[in-house]
Symmetry: C2
Subunit: 348 residues, 2 copies
Amino acid sequence: MVTLKDIALKTGVSTATVSRVLNGKGRGRIKPEIAHEIREQAEAMGYVINPIARGLRTNRSHMIGLIGDDVATTPYAGRIILGAQDAARTFGYLLTVVNTGNDAELERQQIDMLRRYGVDGFLYAAMYDRVMTLPDALDDCPTVMVDAEDKDGQCPSIGPDEQGIGEDAVARLLAAGCRRIAYYGSPPTVIAQPRRLAGYHAALDRAGIASDDRPVFDPDEKVDADMQAEALLDTGADGVFCFNDVRARFIYEAAVRRGLRIGRDLSVVSVDNFELLSVFFEPRLTSIELPHYEMGYWGACKLISMIEGRDMGGALDAVETRAVLPDLSVDRGRIRCAVVEKESVAVR
Amino acid sequence: MVTLKDIALKTGVSTATVSRVLNGKGRGRIKPEIAHEIREQAEAMGYVINPIARGLRTNRSHMIGLIGDDVATTPYAGRIILGAQDAARTFGYLLTVVNTGNDAELERQQIDMLRRYGVDGFLYAAMYDRVMTLPDALDDCPTVMVDAEDKDGQCPSIGPDEQGIGEDAVARLLAAGCRRIAYYGSPPTVIAQPRRLAGYHAALDRAGIASDDRPVFDPDEKVDADMQAEALLDTGADGVFCFNDVRARFIYEAAVRRGLRIGRDLSVVSVDNFELLSVFFEPRLTSIELPHYEMGYWGACKLISMIEGRDMGGALDAVETRAVLPDLSVDRGRIRCAVVEKESVAVR
DNA sequence: CTGAAAGCGCTTACAG
DNA sequence: CTGAAAGCGCTTACAG
């Protein structure tokens, strides 16, 4: 490992000077020729800073921690992590992920561990959109909530625009000519359910669709999913907005049983766009993708902005995403999601 | 933050002494009363070591890195991470995960980043069982491969016992009274395929089943999965060993179409035990669980053993898992997997 | 414009 | 049995 001292020796200056140049604190304070020489040598010798040593001195580790309740078993976590990691890398930060398994004691322990390592801030991530309270251990530390909203309204947060999902799904079905659009929802314990439902009604209001033509089904744990899908099709719906891809699968099966051709007789728009399930959908399912990568990315940018006390928003333009990210001045962000077009919606 | 110095001041000794006591290097070298006093005070003052400062001095960070090619989109990654994290925590290590997205340049960059942070070693994880080569950047660093095998045979590795999966699946079907057991495989590009197939044959050999009664189907990309499932059932099989749950789903559908009742007329054993898919299986699917958590856990224990130069095998007994872990002296471990019993196998 | 020095919180070889 | 001192690789207030 090449150190500052090695460079200082080589160039005949003090380590202080080398440090200043390499940190861009030499502006007008160090003779340009010397600065140039130092930079050349550092480059040639392959110098890279030792962030541990720097951190010991500055009390800033350039590490951020991602706390997730259930990184292990949800298929979403990966993309949140990926987005956060990409943003962190852009700014020279290292992302460290810990899983708490919904265990408050373990959570506390993990947060303490990360704090001992001097992380500069935290992403506190939920694995599905919800309202949460920040743990006490995070109170005095820069933190951003991901895929969540802070109950106390203190902590900046980012989530999907759930109402927009409902509106966009229904708009897509209306555009395909559907006039009797059903909603196959979820139990109301998740906040996405009432919000998507509100979006569904808003879009139908706008289109002047009567309330008679708005069959809404909330899955009841006690009713068989197949039976519910059958009941839904019994309403004569020509379009279905499904809460997620698993629900959509039940609609597909029910449709097959009664000889309805999806993408012709019946249009379906869903949410999740789960790659793992795609093999089960023929024709392929048009589905709205939740912006997990984007939430992770935005969350990390926001967090680093807070840590460094300046706007890191430029990075948002650099990232290629399907969804449009709010800018970093927003404190409770909601991302408008992208509809991923496949073949389950009728061609007009 | 309480420091060594605070404790030294409080107890009237030098920081050297405090350090020795707290690191257990005082044995017979420090007066017991003093040692006791120091420990008491440290406890009372809530001292926790600053691993960054310790690391700067000792060149050991107590961090380990997990490099994964595709942590983002595979449903397995989470459990590998969780297992590795649990083991790391047990030994006071911090796990840091990075995703390389199969991009060699990015991989190199991430490895360099982790090395700058001084990680003590690496877990190099695949997202499905395969033979890999260690990247050059990891050559001079303690490393363990997870869910993989080293092509060059240098690097210790851990994976599932694929042949055992085939043997156990078939044994289970034989025990249920099946006499014509089909294998619904995978394309041979994954190493699991030939190995599970070998296990299938080994178990049937042992049972004295003739080769006429061993219908084997390898999914052909060009042949529709539904058609293959139909062809498989046409053989008159009374038991099916499926390469994974997705395959099993096609068998279920084909069975329904011809009025066969699974768990009565036809028995099915699969691999993966995917929670996300479970809603699609009625009756619920008996499936062999790949030991991702266990591989992560074992890998981290092995790695830390290598780093510290002593056997950390004790931790293996502490962990509750379905599968049995090999002990840490093994260099190319294969874990015998657990059959998770549900209802898709006929009751005798 | 530049350097000597102190210090971040530890560990450890050396000396006693 | 214990301490003073050096040092890990940096940064920065201070002095010139």
